[in-house]
Amino acid sequence: MKRFFQTVLAILREISDEGPYQRHLAAHGLKHSPEEWRRFSDHLFAHKYARGKCC
């Protein structure tokens, strides 16, 4: 049951882009800061919203 909830939380973190942000920090050896989140989200949104949402 614990594993199930951990997976659900991980899915929510992925959908909310918190998971990709943590991976981005880890991959580039960076620490969280407001500026870093803004840089990351600007890049992410530019890609994410270049595609339409599904109907």
Binding site: I15, E18, P34, H43, G52
Partner: protein, 687 residues
């Protein structure tokens, strides 16, 4: 253990067959929705375990030793090998839209049987297969998009057709989903206030995430959700206030203009301020509601009040004109097969897969779950009393302009309903009236509210649940409008950059404002046309959207067939060939009927001719001649658009068949554009 496994699957097959036969053969008695739940889930499970596994093992030859693009091209951003259940959740959230909710609700006018069979069979041998194979193709090609694969595997023409098709689909899609929202909110101060409140809530969330608590998306979304729930209560207060209610009681045209302005703003404002926070919120609400609805259906097990087949299979349905074939298969698009899914399967998802076999649950399994959402929507709609269902969904132009006339017409069809019953129901859900609310959203909301209220709260909070369901539908439809307008703008900027280069710069403000205006004007025109249509708009626009979406699926299946032919010759061509042939037949049949049918309610040109004759013979009052001429123009425009869709289908088909013949005869190399094999280095812990 192996014997137990065989027994389990044999038992599941028997349950699936028994339930499907029960649904198909039952006549005259009401059946319980649990039959649909069992028939669909057992069939999906068998399709997943046997058919999809066969495709994965024998046709795709998935290999867990082969490094995926997520591993080979890992960059910490787009390419990242990710846990399969996380990719599954992410992919499902991306493909789940309003289509599987609205389409089955509208198609319920034929009864529950045609829709149920098409959703289940169409998904298992069509939609799930398409999503799975396109995901596989993209995964083996470094995560390339559908357009890129069409260009490389079929030819340049195929790629160009894919781009034009997507742009045209976008315009029709945005207009039709906009119409669904407008029809759900017109004359409803409660609903309008709730949806209007989501705009400042999204702006607040955008600022919260950008400046106050950067990166705390889950926390921010939770606050946003609580504020949205508060806004539903606020909407109830507004609707009961003599001062405020008139401010939020808007006509269809006023709501259409508000939607158009919103689309323009969402396309031009920074993404982080409005679009992204709305998207987070609507995705979480959407997932939550889907799972609550599933739990509610299992708890309530509502009886299906609509018959298996209604008299409207003959094409005389009030919601949209046309016989069960081909229009049931055009109306239910996303719940059975959706071309749009191919865009997602060749978008982010292939870049996140860590093991090739994960494509099996992600590609096939996610679509099976999406199809189950369509079954739930069908159950919610069919659990309404048929008279209520038709009173809500039928336009005034068909059933009569007054409640008494409308209920009298509907009762003569064998679905008794009275104006008093409708008035009481409207009061129960906090609305002035529930008549002529075409588009599917209000009837779906009624069905959902009934299921939710039976589970929690009872009739006393039916109004809350109804507006919660309306909020849920409208919120993610408006997110689609926001992101779709933006994507349409990008595509237009790219096309127009060949005429004037600066227009191609995405951040050049004049170009951005100009192209946003053009794309908004395009879908806004069709939206206004739908709002003004005396037949409710859905009658003309939803089939156009269905044809366009199935056309995109045709392109995806052409790409998939080409790749299968290059891999195995003609041996497995039937896997994608069967759904492809079916879709082509359906698209042509529906398109030709929509253009050339001699029935004015069905054929665009027949209606234009009828109206022109009425003008020529003086049957139209002088004050209405201008409006009638606009309607004639719109009919001809819709016919031209529909014709263009058919031409696009023909081009892509001819181009594909030419490639298949050349490959099979040896005149063209069977070499695919697959990336070379690289041994994976990911450990078991990393996947």
């Amino acid at each position: 253990m192996k014997l137990l496994g065989h027994l389990f699957w044999a038992a599941l097959s028997v349950v699936a067959a028994f339930c499907l036969a029960g649904i198909a053969m039952n006549r005259g008695e009401h059946i319980n929705s649990i039959w649909l739940v069992l028939a669909s889930t057992c069939t999906y499970a068998i399709g997943f375990r046997f058919y999809a596994k066969f495709i994965a093992a024998k046709v795709m030859m998935l290999d867990n030793n082969r490094a995926t693009p997520g591993e080979r091209l890992r960059d910490g951003h787009d390419f990242e090998p990710t846990n399969k259940w996380i990719v599954f959740g992410h992919h499902f959230a991306a493909i789940a839209g309003p289509g599987p909710l609205v389409g089955p609700t509208l198609a319920a006018q034929f009864g529950y049987l045609p829709g149920t069979l098409w959703i289940i069979i169409g998904a298992v041998i069509g939609g799930c297969v398409q999503d799975f194979i396109i995901l596989f193709c993209s995964m083996r090609r470094d995560g390339k998009s559908l357009g890129q694969m069409a260009r490389e595997e079929i030819g340049k023409l195929g790629g160009l057709v894919a781009v034009i098709t997507v742009l045209m689909i976008m315009v029709i899609l945005l207009a039709v989903v906009g119409l669904v929202v407008v029809n759900a909110l017109k004359g409803s101060p409660w609903g309008t206030f709730t949806i209007a409140a989501t705009m400042p809530i999204a702006l607040l969330m955008g600022l919260y995430l950008r400046y106050w608590r950067p990166g705390k998306v889950l926390e921010c979304s939770l606050w946003g959700f609580l504020l949205v729930i508060l806004s539903i209560f606020g909407g109830q207060w507004v609707a009961q206030s003599a001062t405020w209610a008139p401010w939020f009681t808007l006509s269809g045209i006023a709501l259409a203009i508000a939607t158009i302005v919103y689309g323009y703003l969402a396309s031009t404002l920074p993404v982080w301020l409005l679009l992204a926070p709305r998207d987070y919120l609507s995705t979480f609400v959407k997932l939550g509601v889907v799972f609550i609805l599933a739990a509610g259906i299992l708890f309530v097990r509502p009886q299906l009040e609509l018959p298996a087949l209604t008299r409207f299979i003959d094409g005389t349905g009030p919601i949209f004109a046309g016989k069960v074939f081909p229009f049931c298969f055009i109306t239910i698009a996303c719940g059975a097969i959706s071309g749009f899914h191919a865009m997602i399967s060749s978008g982010t998802t292939p870049k996140m897969i860590s093991r090739e076999w994960h494509a099996w649950p992600v590609g096939y399994g996610s679509m099976a779950l999406e199809s189950f959402v369509a079954i739930m929507a069908l159950i919610a709609a069919c659990s309404l009393q048929p008279g209520v269902y038709f009173a809500v969904n039928s336009p005034a132009g068909v059933v009569g302009a007054t409640p008494v006339a409308a209920t009298a017409t509907i009762s003569t069809w064998g679905f008794p309903v009275t104006a008093t019953e409708m008035s009481t129901l409207a009061q129960d859900v906090g609305e002035e009236s529930l008549f002529y609310r075409t588009g599917g959203a209000p009837s779906l909301a009624l069905g959902m509210a009934h299921i939710f209220a039976t589970t929690i709260g009872g009739k006393a909070i039916l109004g809350f649940w109804y507006h919660f369901a309306i909020m849920f539908e409208a919120m993610f439809i408006l997110t689609i409008i926001a992101s779709g307008t933006r994507v349409g703008r990008f595509m237009l900027q790219e096309l127009l950059s060949h005429v004037y280069a600066p227009l191609g710069k995405k951040n050049w403000t004049p170009g951005m404002l100009f192209t946003s205006g053009l794309i908004v004007a395009a879908w806004g025109y069709f939206l206004i046309q739908g709002v003004r249509d005396p037949l409710g708009g859905i009658n003309s626009l939803w089939p156009l959207f269905g044809i366009a979406n199935q056309l995109l699926a045709t392109i995806a299946l052409c790409v998939a067939t080409t790749i299968l032919i290059k891999m195995h010759g003609a041996r497995y061509i039937w896997i994608t060939g069967v759904p492809l042939v079916w879709l082509v037949v359906v698209c042509y049949a529906a398109g030709i009927e929509k253009i050339f049918s001699s029935l004015p309610r069905l054929g665009f040109l027949a209606e234009a001719t009828k109206l022109q004759t009425a003008i020529d013979t003086g049957a139209i009052a002088a004050s209405k001649i201008a409006a009638t001429q606009t309607q004639i123009f719109n009919d001809r425009l819709d016919a031209a658009l529909c014709g263009m869709f058919l031409v696009l289908v023909s081009i892509i088909l001819v181009d594909s068949v030419r490639t298949w013949v050349a490959v099979l005869s040896g005149a063209k190399s069977a070499q695919t554009e697959e990336s070379p094999f690289v041994l994976t280095r990911l450990t078991a812990e990393e996947v």
